[in-house]
Symmetry: C2
Subunit: 124 residues, 2 copies
């Protein structure tokens, strides 16, 4: 018996990411949709550093999550899709440990290759 | 007599850009919405090079337009807005001089400061 798995399109990857982000499953996004050699690019003023490789990118996500004391709310837009790339707008209203309450707003760009996310980049 | 002009929000800049792009007024977008010190970042495989400064960016736009023999169609998505940034998906179905017909699909990210676009970046 053989099993075949259809490669997801950019739109399918985008829809699954949005679905998971809206229920707060950030780690599941990375486990399920990220390629092993993914790169994650943060702006120089980000509280977390850019990372390369799925394990390092997941550690970065965990590091950021660990900075949050209380999550008050947030939102994740539908994706706009263009070829191998898609982007979303994200907001996060949270109290950060030792830093108080902040409302983050950003644009995220994702690159898809062979049905997996091979890069993400954040703009804020 | 004094006149005051309200600084446009990111959403207002995004809406105006989308409105102009949908009627093909790329040059008007740059003239009206771009800051004098805007930077425009293209991927390394782009047929046109990244540019810095409104005049150079407009020249880049004209250079790209000059490569098109016939424009068959295209689309420009609504913008998703996150803080000072917004992004759109764009398609262009065109015949390029000496290269034949191609369907370009890309994501564009724009950064707004004081009501003007201070950077754009293209992903394809």
């Amino acid at each position: 018996m053989t099993t075949t798995q259809k490669t997801m399109t950019t739109q399918e990857v985008a829809d699954r990411l949005v679905e998971l982000m809206r229920i707060g499953q950030v780690q599941q996004v990375q486990e399920e949709l990220y390629a092993d050699d993914v790169t994650s690019t943060e702006p120089s003023h980000s509280p977390v550093a850019s990372a390369k490789g799925k394990i390092a990118v997941m550690q970065k996500g965990a590091e950021f999550a660990g900075m949050i004391e209380t999550r008050h709310g947030g939102s994740f837009s539908d994706a706009v899709v263009g070829g191998r790339y898609f982007s979303c707008a994200m907001t996060l209203d949270a109290t950060f440990k030792g830093k108080g309450r902040m409302n983050l707003e950003e644009i995220c760009v994702f690159e898809v290759k062979d049905g997996k996310i091979v890069s993400d980049q954040f703009f804020f």
